[in-house]
Assembly symmetry: C2
Homo-oligomer: 661 residues x 2
């Protein structure tokens, strides 16, 4: 009559429904659930995520990228990770290019790109690894490095010889199977392993059947799932799956989807290179496709539209077959076609539920992290970089962080912190020549309003914000414009929120059925004259408003406790402890202060010649302005922070004798 | 222009205003503030608390008690600690009675009474210790034990010889000064030390001046403050303070106040014993007092009223003098006179601000504790007892508790868990003879309604609640009555609260300027028939309602995560992280379940003869009923828990075929 255990009712969405296995895992790790485990996707291994989705019937997609050739290319690819990551891929994978020093620390290496995807973009990532032309020791070193960087998944490939035919190597590997065995032997169960499948047989295989047997060997050696080479007909893949199942391959098999397009690097010579590629890969482009392409071969847009349509139709057949749990896309580092296919299939998550208000890093060490200082809200990659050496991450209460030291941020050209805009574009946005401090106020104001500046350029970013205003900040647009115009140069803010549903499209985050809250927050640079008046005004707002006011030398004026953080964002959810993901922390504010002031010089002043008036204006602001943050603790009431600023201006405008009292 | 540090504005009440010194102390302990430090009173040493209050001008009071002679006397005294503790004493002190085995583990020993006050009643406590007739080793052993029990303050006294004149002892101490030196020598700065002052000179001292010099020696040896012997004229004390200051005694000097009363143990023979006491203590009862007392000496009430009036007037003079930071009361274990004096002086905190919704233990090990399971809400002393061996206490997040094991609770006669009511009273309340299960429902219902039962007795307590309904539970009275009448036997509940001010007289807690929240909670015993219907009904309330349903064998049916606690009380305060002081924790619920079921037998069934029908009824309930807890996660809406129960009854009342679907 009474069941030992009823449904896991607190997990409302299908994809979250296997809390049992998840809780089983955590109980192995410790006797208590010491982490919020906001969603299992954050802590599960890739194979478990697949398993859960297969069980629940939720389809997924994944995206393949190759490493860029240049540092600016890397900056662009990381932005693409952020944009395509927002569509909700189950994982991305990064190919291994033996010619490109793939295991090095170069910002363009396969290793570093995959690591960046995990650590800075929060994407579950699979690193390709080929064994061709490499010693066992070298392979082991690569794997150790991958592990150290937080990578947990490897696509084990033989790889192609460089410029010559395959030669067996002593002390090396000859087949992907050997690599799979090696990974399992040296790293036990640590990595999830993927292997390649060839729906029409590997080009070098003796026969289709022979290739299937090799695939079975790879899986038996310890691979967890298969991604196939691209193909152009659903039935090709479905027959392949049937044949795999027939010989006892039971793991997930993901179809490799390639929406036909020409304007990708692989198709530099357009239509003709498609013929070339097809020939090399022993791929048969079906006659019906060739017949459509031939007449439009010089029209890139038409080709792409056809490629999208063809991919969508094939994917629909695949998904309808019931044999396909997820689709793997060969993006060729392009966005448009893949995103369009996914949108038409209904797989692109336009507004994926955020587990926390900030993007969670996918590094396994950070899986418990659920509190961060608000200061880095617009520079999360910098925060991740500066805390990468922490042993523990705060969980539940900021004060519990056992590693408060922030790493130095001396190299402002760190590639994942670099502005997406080149110097010329920055000068167009921020001014080729500054006349005075007011020119700077204008830049801030134009950024807020998204209006073009006097030279006709939109200000799309600021040194502290590499992206346009967040939708949430947009709620404060009018007020922000007003104060920036008068020299209250805002770099971070949030409205107060008194219990909106966690599903709210703008401010919502966390599991379904919850409520989110915020205290109003405002952070800005302003002149010392303004600060004098502000301090006078703030007396009236005790104890409602907490403030920190600091200049570049670090003189900190505050009415807050020295060590006590102030929670400014929190959420209440069914069946959970409270989550408070952002705090105003007095200690880390002093680290942020250094970074915030340095950005004036590193990102802005240095655009101009030494000793130039423009540079001296920025230098003056850097040397003389204060960085201020304000929290209105009374979150159920309308924010009083605008009134605080208004009062400051009123005091400044009043006759001197009034200012004394 | 800009000050290094402005006012500590987030601390709103005067007595909290020295956050600087507090934060200074915590920064010595660690580089981060890892505890909520809800108020400095919780973590500061007694001497620091005094210092802060002296600086802020806030007056305090303290209360002296002597250990009881009998175990029932101890139970009564502990209740008195709870009642008098609610008035907000800065500390209490417990006298040392050499004849009563004061350092033993007996429940009536000075040591155990002081320990209980600290650990179970959350009172800052001073343990008296006399050195007369004791070896150094014995003294050290007492001090070590006191330290182990969480005591941090010692009143160092010479003490009086037992039944004979003072004889100097080898290897012992002859003066309180020696004891002070010994404590500082052996325990460095661990203990705060108090010594006695004699406003009219010690009865055995050579002279008043000689006695003052001795006092100076005691202070110089390391005492932190002085409490004086009682006196009857303000000027006696004020002259004493002046003389102390003149010879360089700078520490706080607290006047010992004794509101004259006869019905105390010391005055068993009334008026005549006052003369005796006065003679022994070399106290001069002023002529004007004697003149008033003489005519009313046979009227206890009149004497007490006079004593109150006399004490109030004297205290007013003392407080007005500016020399008196706090008043020390010789309560003689009586409540009425002291409380009345304090009320008239405006020092009695009728509604002291609660730092947390539950009473905080004063044991230094527990100072960071700020989360507890809701289950022990009415049995906090049991919770403290069962977790006394924990090394860490949860701080911020329940899951962080590193010591989840609860101690066994086998001895239900543990004196601080014993019911205040004797067996006869319990039988009158709970029924000399039970007819059936409905008789039990009636007891629960009468407890809720505070109505007299059919034998004319009010049900003032239940095995799970030793006190009448809390004001907060009273908010739910009508609903509770309705469901108890039908066999939903509630033992714990709280209403939902959506952001009431922290100053709310009923549900408020924590620092000023905050907001408190609750999820509705209901916990009850009910029959297995009811549980069957309830489980059917609960399906409709997924995922809004979380439940745990368990019988005495421990079969747990739940829709909650195995390990994830559900926060059901939390508060948001200016300049702080979120506090979530109560959770529904699945793991500790299983420990509570054992205790909750055992109370049926230990506290109720055992009132009746073996094999008696009454006993068998309770035994049947114990064996067959389920313990259920329900949480309504949707705290901003009206609680749906009553509707859940209503639906359960509706289903039970409907024809059998309807029940199936």
């Amino acid at each position: 009559m009474v069941n030992q255990r009823a449904d896991i009712g607190w997990q409302s969405s299908k994809s979250d429904s296997s809390g049992v296995s998840n809780s089983g895992e955590s109980s192995k790790e410790s006797s208590r659930c010491s982490t919020p485990v906001l969603d299992a996707d954050r802590t599960d291994r890739l194979r478990d995520k697949m398993k859960r989705r297969i069980e629940s019937g939720d389809r997924w997609f994944s995206l393949e990228f190759f490493p860029p050739r240049t540092a600016p290319g890397a900056v662009n690819l990381i932005s693409r990770f952020d944009r395509m990551g927002s569509g909700g891929p189950l994982f991305i994978d990064v190919t291994w290019h033996p010619a490109g020093d793939p295991g090095s620390d170069k910002e363009t290496s396969s290793m570093m790109i995959a690591s960046t995807a995990v650590n800075y973009c929060g994407l579950e990532s699979v690193l390709h690894l080929t064994c061709c032309n490499q010693t066992k020791e070298k392979i082991t070193a690569h794997l150790n490095k991958a592990k150290r960087l937080g990578l947990k998944n490897i696509m084990a490939l033989r790889g192609d010889p460089i410029g010559k035919d395959w030669v067996e190597e002593d002390g090396g590997f000859n087949y992907a199977t050997d690599l799979v065995k090696h990974i399992r032997c040296e790293f036990d169960d640590y990595f999830d392993i993927c292997v390649a499948g060839y729906p029409t047989g590997h080009p070098e295989a003796e026969s289709y059947e022979d290739d299937l047997r090799h695939l079975k060997e790879k899986v038996d050696a310890g691979a967890h799932f298969i991604i196939t080479q691209l193909f152009f007909r659903a039935e090709t893949f479905l027959k392949f799956v049937k044949d795999c199942r027939a010989i006892g391959i039971t793991c997930p098999i993901l179809p490799g989807i390639f929406p036909i397009q020409f304007e990708s690097p692989l198709f530099a010579q357009g239509y003709h290179s498609l013929r070339q590629l097809v020939k090399l890969s022993k791929l048969e482009v079906p006659e019906e496709i060739m017949q459509v392409i031939e007449p439009i071969k010089d029209n890139d847009a038409a080709i792409r539209n056809y490629g999208i349509q063809q991919a969508v139709e094939m994917c629909k057949v695949l998904l309808a077959s019931g044999e396909v749990p997820g689709l793997h896309f060969y993006t060729l580092n392009r966005e448009v076609a893949t995103m369009e296919v996914l949108r038409q299939l209904g797989l692109w998550a336009e507004d994926p539920r955020r587990p926390l208000p900030w993007a969670v890093s996918a590094h396994p060490k950070r899986k418990v992290e659920d509190v961060r200082p608000i200061f880095w809200a617009s520079r999360p990659k910098s925060y991740i970089y500066r805390t990468q050496d922490w042993d523990d991450f705060p969980n539940g209460r900021w004060g519990n962080s056992s590693s408060p030291a922030f790493g130095e941020l001396t190299d402002y050209y760190l590639f994942y912190l670099k502005s997406k805009s080149p110097k010329e574009a920055l000068l167009q946005m921020w001014g080729e020549e500054l006349m005075n401090e007011e020119s700077v106020y204008e830049v801030f104001t134009n950024y807020i309003t998204s209006q073009t500046n006097r030279n006709g350029h939109k200000v799309m970013c600021l040194p502290w914000n590499d992206d346009p205003l967040a939708p949430e900040t947009n709620l404060l647009k009018d007020e922000l414009e007003k104060v920036n115009r008068r020299g209250v140069l805002t770099i971070n803010s949030q409205p107060n929120i008194n219990g909106k549903p966690s599903s709210d499209p703008i401010v919502g985050w966390g599991p379904a059925g919850g409520y989110v809250f915020q205290k109003a927050y405002l952070e800005f640079f302003t002149s010392s004259e303004n600060v004098t008046a502000l301090l006078q005004v703030l007396k009236k707002y005790e104890p409602r408003v907490n403030y920190h006011i600091v200049n570049v030398q670090g003189r900190n004026t505050t009415n807050a406790h020295d060590m006590q953080p102030n929670a400014v964002t929190w959420g209440i959810f069914p069946g959970r402890e409270i989550i408070q993901p952002t705090v105003v922390d007095p200690v880390s504010f002093m680290y942020w202060k250094d970074e915030a002031f340095a950005l004036w010089i590193e990102q802005w002043a240095k655009l101009y010649e030494d000793e130039s008036p423009s540079r001296m204006i920025i230098q003056y602001i850097h040397d003389n302005y204060f960085l201020v943050n304000l929290v209105d603790n009374d979150f159920p009431l309308d924010s009083c922070l605008w009134q605080v600023i208004e009062d400051m201006f009123t005091l400044l405008d009043s006759p001197p004798e009034t200012q004394k009292d």
